[in-house]
């Protein structure tokens, strides 16, 4: 710690050391940065009033005595401003107007990165940002349209609280951590699709302590979205449209009808005699004399039945313009995405209206308003009889979707679930109702007044509200095609679920700013005060067993069966005062600081004591030193460091407040306590130290930025499972500490070969985590559906925790020699899994659990390549994740061989006889040996490289006064993925919860798509 402070001090001293000045008459050359050709007739002006033009070779000579600033202007290029105290280089490059410069992309002092190449051909900006930004891991939750992504900036600082970055739209904080739907299992709503990509000007990702001014809300970093505004008076119209098709990348190879019959017979024979099987499962015997044989003679690949070629379309239009007093921007959009599973889709209607009004020269008003309406048709995920993907994987191939008569003609009804007890996936998709409707409104009003040359004030007030409604009806009473769910001692033959979530928040902020330019320096100070309130409410209701599948509302459910109503409510208020300070000397020394004093009611509903957060940063750009100017190659060589402290205050109500929930007992509903709350729970506090280097060459042919950082999180909240007699699962305590180090590296290059322009680049990031303290516990084990995870002191976080395997017992000798039994006394036999007996006590049980996988990626990032020739360009973007382990829960069921559900083709090499050397154990009904226990057999390497985007675009060479620009493009998305993962897709994220990271529960796979589109600007 001391060394860090010393280092900062030395840097600050350096900044104030006066620096050498040397000036005389200079000749400079002006070149086009891309084409490297001389720019003739560029206008060169100085603040001493001199104005000259460059000659045809781009040369100009000028006397720079008493000149502080040189301005270079040329139509079609960006203006260039040269401060003479940084020295004068022999050559300057001009960048054309429509190039996004690297210089603008990377933040000066702390780590922020701005994404200006927003791809419009997606519902939301996040999907297309995958792999583009160092340190930012963006993973799609699933392929379900509208579900979006999970974004984490520099990994997870918290084990129990939200790790989502803060979302800020046009300066207004949008509080939506998302929620997990109680209606559609595994569905996670996407807060990022509230702004149409067409309306986005830029997105900035703030890393580390860069988000310090947002206090405790910025502890996970922040995403700042700037929406488009009118930047010229002329009326501009842009229309665009794209159409796309998507399909599943690959299907899981499953058994065909014959193979399934064999496998099922083998499984059943371990429990029943052939004769018992014959009477219970006559359909397994390929005998035309059997009753109902006509229903059982098919060979259906159910995956083919539910997956489809999905069509997506998007239309949008933007108009901007205005006059000297008022400018406006209006954008409207319609986006319809069909899911690759039949009957799923997501539609968004979006509008945005931004205005800028100059009431006087000094008084400006901005009004921004965005309104969205979404609706969709969703599906359940997870291991659930209402998940069509689950059903398609497990349903017997000998059945077919519709009932058939003796002649094999299809009847209109869906085929029932039969004795195999797997729902008919098409009945799930077509007989059920699964609606989603969402509304959102985002508006703010912003006033700013320039008091004098140095002082300004700004006030803004904004309101956001959103409401989601989800309704699901799961049929089954009439059709018998969907397996009833057993819930609270009742069979739910059909179910009605309804959920409403409402959120409204207010953001008010006032700022007083001071900026002053000194001779060689600039000072910016802002004092601000911010008030935020957020109210969140949900109501969930559930009923079952309406008299017929025609009745689908809650009041038609059977009152004598289980009913459930639950709700959630919290109100969070946050008040903070902050001061930001930014001092820049001679364009090369920079010192900045932020102090944020914050109070919030997060704890037990009362305003508690305040928290002090902030950061301190300094940077030094060697590239701006006059003695460096003679080196024409480097424009920026900046060293920067930053130390910040922030806290995570996103405590959910269950941590801090007494909660009650309704419970049904003997058909009477009463309220019972839901949790043990901890009124002393405190914010998690994260301190981060970052050291960075930015290197950008003057032509921007190469840009390298490296951040090395170290963070420490104290007061880390962990879930402590309590003893059974307490009656509650566990309690959250501020018990742990964690530290992490990481590196984010991004490299971008550009060069030309003859008329070809090339750009290549990529980024790589990692986070090495270590739990340094875990309270009174050596380790904490938390279970989830199918397995468990462990955190230990000294480990990197949640690790999968289960048995280790050493293959399959080849024969009886080997099994006998091992002398192993399991917890229930079963003695392992030939063909069973050989689990490692860690304790060497001859019993395989939970004492033999070890860490069998780490779901956190070792490193991740992306790379790209771009080639353009004239108006034609080809762009490929890859993203990758390396080293994250995945628990393939779906495969545990597809390779279990314990019942008649369909299996994947690997079971064809299951152990059958002495001497078989294989990795798949023998069949066994009900799995008495627990061969399918949670073990490293199911843990897979989730690494992947994916071609997330490849685009071929052509700018039509038609330009006129009215037609400014027109472009057509052909795009492929996710069309290639390299992975050794054995599930549908290595890219998924169940619900953002740290515990479930890396657990694959049959969500809708991320599809591959081809998109064709056109954009016209008038």
């Amino acid at each position: 710690m001391n060394s860090k402070i010393n280092f900062l001090f030395i840097l600050i001293v350096l900044i104030f050391i006066a620096d050498l000045e040397a000036q005389n008459v200079r000749a400079i050359k002006i070149l086009d940065a891309e084409k490297q050709l001389p720019v003739a007739n560029a206008i060169i002006k100085t603040d001493s009033g001199l104005e000259v033009k460059s000659n045809k070779d781009g040369f100009v000579e000028l006397d720079v005595n008493d000149v502080a600033t040189i301005y270079i202007r040329k139509e079609g290029f960006k203006n260039l401003e040269i401060k003479t105290f940084n020295g004068i280089k022999p050559t300057y490059f001009l960048f054309s107007e429509d190039v996004n410069q690297m210089k603008d992309k990377f933040g000066a002092v702390w780590s922020s990165v701005k994404e200006t190449d927003i791809d419009h051909s997606d519902l939301s900006f996040d999907i297309n940002s995958r792999g583009k930004i160092a340190g930012v891991l963006i993973q799609q939750h699933s392929g379900m349209p509208g579900e979006g992504t999970e974004i984490t900036i520099r990994g997870n600082n918290s084990l129990s609280l939200s790790n989502k970055p803060l979302l800020v739209v046009d300066g207004q904080i949008y509080q939506n951590d998302g929620y997990e739907s109680p209606v559609f299992e595994g569905f996670y709503n996407n807060p990022y699709n509230l702004v149409n990509t067409h309306d986005i000007e830029s997105v900035t990702f703030l890393k580390g302590s860069a988000a310090a001014m947002y206090g405790s809300l910025g502890s996970n970093g922040a995403i700042l979205i700037s929406t488009k505004r009118a930047n010229e008076l002329k009326t501009r119209i842009k229309v665009s449209s794209w159409q796309g098709i998507s399909d599943i990348d690959h299907k899981i190879p499953l058994l065909n009808n014959e193979q399934w019959i064999n496998k099922s017979l083998e499984v059943l024979q371990t429990d029943l005699t052939i004769n018992e099987i014959y009477s219970a499962y006559p359909s397994l015997f390929n005998n035309p004399d059997n009753v109902g044989f006509h229903q059982y003679k098919y060979n259906t690949n159910w995956q083919d039945e539910i997956f489809r070629l999905a069509i997506s379309q998007n239309y949008s239009a933007q108009v901007s313009g205005g006059d000297e007093v008022a400018k406006y921007y209006l954008g409207i959009g319609y986006n319809n995405n069909d899911g690759i599973v039949s009957n799923t889709n997501f539609t968004r209607y979006s509008t945005r209206f931004n205005t800028d009004v100059n009431i006087s020269k000094d008084f400006k008003v901005k009004v921004n308003l965005g309104v969205n309406y979404n609706d969709g048709q969703l599906i359940d995920s997870g291991i659930n009889n209402n998940n069509p993907i689950y059903a398609a994987l497990f349903k017997s191939p000998i059945l077919q979707p519709k009932k058939v008569n003796f002649e094999g003609e299809e009847l209109p009804d869906y085929d029932p679930y039969h004795i195999f007890n797997v729902s008919n996936p098409l009945a799930i998709l077509n007989d059920n109702e699964s609606k989603y409707v969402g509304y959102s409104l985002l508006g703010n009003f912003d006033l700013s007044y320039q008091i004098n040359d140095n002082f300004w004030v700004n006030g803004s007030i904004g309101h956001t509200s959103w409401k989601d409604e989800q309704h699901s009806f799961i049929s089954g009473v009439t059709s018998n095609a969907i397996v009833p769910t057993y819930i609270y001692n009742n069979y739910a033959n059909n179910q009605v679920k309804h959920f409403v979530a409402k959120n409204s928040s207010l953001h008010a902020e006032a700022k007083l700013g001071y900026n002053k330019s000194f001779h060689h320096a600039n000072l910016n100070v802002v004092f601000g005060t911010r008030y935020l309130s957020n109210k969140y409410e949900t109501i969930y209701s559930y009923g079952m067993n309406t008299s017929s599948d025609k009745f689908i509302t809650l009041n038609q459910t059977n009152p004598n069966d289980f009913r459930d109503i639950s709700s959630d409510f919290y109100e969070r208020r946050l008040f903070s005062n902050y001061l930001t300070f930014d001092y820049m000397i001679k364009n090369k020394y920079n010192l900045s600081a932020t102090i944020n004093y914050e109070q919030n009611n997060g704890h037990a509903s009362s305003i508690s004591g305040g928290y002090l957060y902030g950061n301190l940063g300094a940077s030094y750009d060697v590239g701006a030193e006059p003695w460096f100017s003679s080196n024409a190659f480097l424009d920026i060589l900046r060293f920067r460091m930053d130390y910040g402290r922030s806290g995570n205050s996103r405590l959910h109500a269950g941590l801090t407040d007494k909660l009650y929930q309704p419970k049904n007992f003997s058909n009477v509903t009463g309220l019972v306590r839901k949790n043990i709350y901890n009124s002393n729970i405190d914010n998690e506090i994260t301190s981060t130290f970052t050291f960075g280097v930015d290197l950008i060459s003057d032509r921007e042919t190469i840009a390298l930025t490296i951040d090395a950082w170290r963070s420490t999180t104290k007061n880390l909240i962990v879930y402590n499972q309590t003893d059974n007699f307490i009656g509650f699962d566990g309690v959250y305590l501020n018990d742990a500490e964690m530290s992490a180090t990481g590196i984010d590296l991004a490299l971008n290059t550009k060069f030309n070969i003859s008329k070809f322009n090339f750009a290549f680049g990529g980024n790589i990031s990692n986070r090495m985590n270590k739990v340094t303290e875990l309270g009174d516990n050596d380790m904490l084990v938390t279970s989830f559906n199918g397995g468990q995870k462990i955190i230990r002191e000294g480990s990197s976080g949640y690790h999968f925790y289960g048995l280790k395997t050493e293959g399959v017992f080849i024969d009886a000798d080997e099994a006998t020699a091992s002398n192993l039994i399991n917890d229930s006394g079963y003695r392992y036999q030939a063909g069973d899994m050989k689990f490692t007996d860690i304790t060497e006590d001859g019993i395989i049980n939970d004492e033999d659990f070890v860490e069998i996988g780490d779901p956190t990626p070792d490193f991740f990032g992306g790379f790209y390549g771009r080639i353009s020739y004239g108006n034609l360009s080809l762009n490929a973007q890859f993203s990758y994740v390396s080293g994250g382990d995945v628990y393939n829960f779906t495969r545990t069921l597809l390779e279990g061989q314990t019942s008649t559900v369909n299996q994947n083709r690997s079971v064809l090499r299951a152990w059958t006889n002495y001497g078989d050397v294989t990795d798949v154990p023998r069949v066994s009904y009900g799995d008495p040996a627990l061969n399918n226990a949670f073990s490293d057999r199911w843990i897979e390497d989730g690494s992947y490289i994916s071609l997330t985007d490849i685009t071929l675009a052509y700018e039509l060479p038609i330009k006129s006064n009215t037609l400014k620009r027109s472009k057509v493009f052909l795009k492929g998305r996710n069309i290639w993925t390299s992975t050794s993962y054995l599930g549908y897709s290595p890219e998924f994220n169940y619900n953002g919860n740290s515990l479930l990271q890396g657990v694959d529960y049959s969500k809708m796979p991320v599809p591959r798509s081809v998109i064709i589109g056109v954009e016209i600007e008038l």
Binding site: Y278, N913, T918
Partner: protein, 528 residues
């Protein structure tokens, strides 16, 4: 432009190469399988000359295509040398049945087969496994081969198996001396239309659905125990020869005649049915001597000398059970006797001559056939009737005691008709209503002992006073031995304790008077 082409083609090519690499891991997991000796059972036979004859037999019977198209089959093969020549002379259908005995659904490896396991073959019949020292399968030596091929497993037998008849088939392989049972069973076969499995093929002129009919043979009797014609369950069969059946029926008729009744044709037919339907029981009954088994006709079949006699140590082991020959059949009385009723009320239904014949006082002072409340003539509807002993007013006197005898009794037949028959020898449960009437001390219980043929009954009466109209209670079981023939039965009633003198007004003494209201003799279930 040429450069561009090159670059694009290099780009596309490299992407294709990368795509080619991608599926390695995937294919390894999902497509890799265990090494197999041969792709199929048939291919294995083709390639191994030592089984060529077995394969030849499969081809002759066209079973090779079935073996080829089935999956998950275990095939028991036999080497050429062990196949006898005469087998080639068997007709194709029989050969087919025989060969199907060598095929099983499922993969059976030696380690999986358990002692006494029964393996169902494609023939429908089961093979019996013994794995002790020398493994045998249906008495043929089993030579485990455990060879996995594409669609199943190959195992070897030392010699070729022959089908064994099941208990049903065995009956018809027996000669004419079993013709009564054989024909009776066949007669119960009923050809019925199986609507569920028949395909509707159209509509006739009347608008009725026309089916491509499937007919099934149903047999009410056999289906009662799960059909013995199938192989999936085990049965024990008891087959009587014609002589045994005839003898049993004759005996019943004689008995019946001796008791004084006449056997109705319906009952006669029923008794015949009983003798020919006590054929089967579920499961294997080994050494059934002195056992009672529940047979096809849902009756207890008591295998014991004098009851049902069988040849215990000579049986046939059928494919689905065991068959015993019955040498003597005995029809239980309960099959043709309902109950014998001794009801004094009925006294009045006969003339005086018959009355005297039916019932007379053997010992005691006097006996009255009287109505409760007084009166010796019947007055229907007033109360009930009984036999009353003499009234005893003197406490020191002998108790009211009497003994009545009746040589015959009545049988209430199923159609409520009264018949007078003898109580024939056998085992009976006795139910009755009897008691004591008292006058004097009411609140003191007294006891009555009942004797039948001078044997005291287990149960005694406790009676406060006049019995109300309760139903007869169980008194005990008696056996009337064969030697007793149809001699009269005696019933005695004794008052065990007396009421003391009544010290009430008038100095009257206690009156103790025993009575019998009704007696019933019901043949016991195991009454033979």
């Amino acid at each position: 432009m040429k450069n561009l082409k090159n670059i694009i083609s290099i780009g596309i090519l490299s992407i294709l190469i990368m795509m080619g690499c991608q599926d390695k891991e995937w294919d390894k997991h999902y497509e890799e399988s265990i090494h197999l000796e041969a792709s199929s059972l048939v291919e294995y036979l083709k390639n191994n000359d030592e089984y060529s004859e077995f394969y030849e037999l499969l081809k002759v019977t066209k079973l090779d295509s079935i073996v080829q198209n089935s999956t998950n089959v275990t095939l028991f093969v036999v080497k050429n040398d062990n196949i006898p020549d005469e087998i080639h002379n068997e007709n194709v259908d029989d050969l087919k049945k025989r060969l199907k005995l060598h095929m099983l659904h499922g993969k059976y490896y030696a380690y999986r087969i358990e002692e006494n396991e029964r393996l169902k073959t494609l023939n429908g019949k089961y093979l019996e496994v013994h794995v002790a020292d020398n493994s045998t399968i249906s008495d043929v030596s089993f030579l485990p081969k455990d060879l996995s091929v594409g669609n199943g497993v190959i195992q070897e037998l030392e010699s070729i198996l022959a089908p064994v008849p099941n208990v049903y088939e065995y009956l018809y392989s027996l000669g004419d001396e079993y013709s009564i049972v054989q024909e009776y069973l066949k007669g119960l076969d009923k050809r019925t239309f199986d609507k569920e499995n028949s395909k509707p093929i159209g509509v006739n002129e009347q608008g009725n659905t026309v089916y491509d009919s499937i007919w099934v043979i149903k047999n009410k009797l056999l289906e009662g125990v799960n059909d013995v014609r199938e192989e999936d369950n085990l049965y024990t069969a008891f087959y009587p020869t014609n002589n045994v059946v005839t003898e049993a029926i004759t005996k019943v008729r004689e008995d019946y005649a001796a008791s004084g009744g006449d056997l109705s044709p319906e009952l006669d037919a029923e008794l015949f049915e009983w003798t020919v339907t006590s054929l089967y029981t579920k499961g294997i009954v080994e050494n059934p001597m002195d056992m009672i088994v529940r047979t096809t006709n849902n009756d207890d079949f008591w295998i014991s000398p004098g009851k049902q006699e069988i040849i215990n140590d000579s049986y046939f082991k059928a494919s689905n059970g065991i068959v015993y020959t019955v040498t003597h059949l005995h029809v239980p009385k309960i099959k043709y006797m309902n109950k014998f009723v001794f009801d004094p009320k009925l006294y009045w239904m006969f003339d005086q001559e018959t009355r005297d014949q039916y019932m007379y006082l053997e010992e005691g002072e006097r006996v009255y056939f009287m109505q409760r409340g007084g009166g010796y003539e019947p007055a229907w509807g007033y109360g009930w009737y009984g036999i009353w002993g003499a009234e005893n007013r003197d406490v020191d006197d002998k108790d009211s005691y009497f003994k009545v005898k009746f040589p015959y009794s009545t049988i209430v037949t199923e159609d409520d008709e009264l018949k007078v028959v003898s109580l024939i020898p056998g085992e009976y449960e006795v139910y009755g209503q009897s008691g004591i009437t008292r006058f004097g001390i009411w609140n003191r219980p007294s006891w009555v002992q009942l004797y039948i043929n001078d044997v005291p009954m287990e149960e005694k009466w406790q009676q406060w006073s006049w019995v109300s109209n309760v139903s007869p209670i169980y008194l005990g079981t008696i056996v009337i031995p064969e030697e007793a023939g149809t001699n009269p039965i005696s019933i005695s009633v004794e008052v065990l304790d007396r009421s003391p003198n009544w010290s009430g007004s008038g100095g009257a003494r206690a009156r103790n008077r025993a009575f019998i209201k009704i007696m019933e003799f019901i043949p016991t279930k195991t009454n033979y």
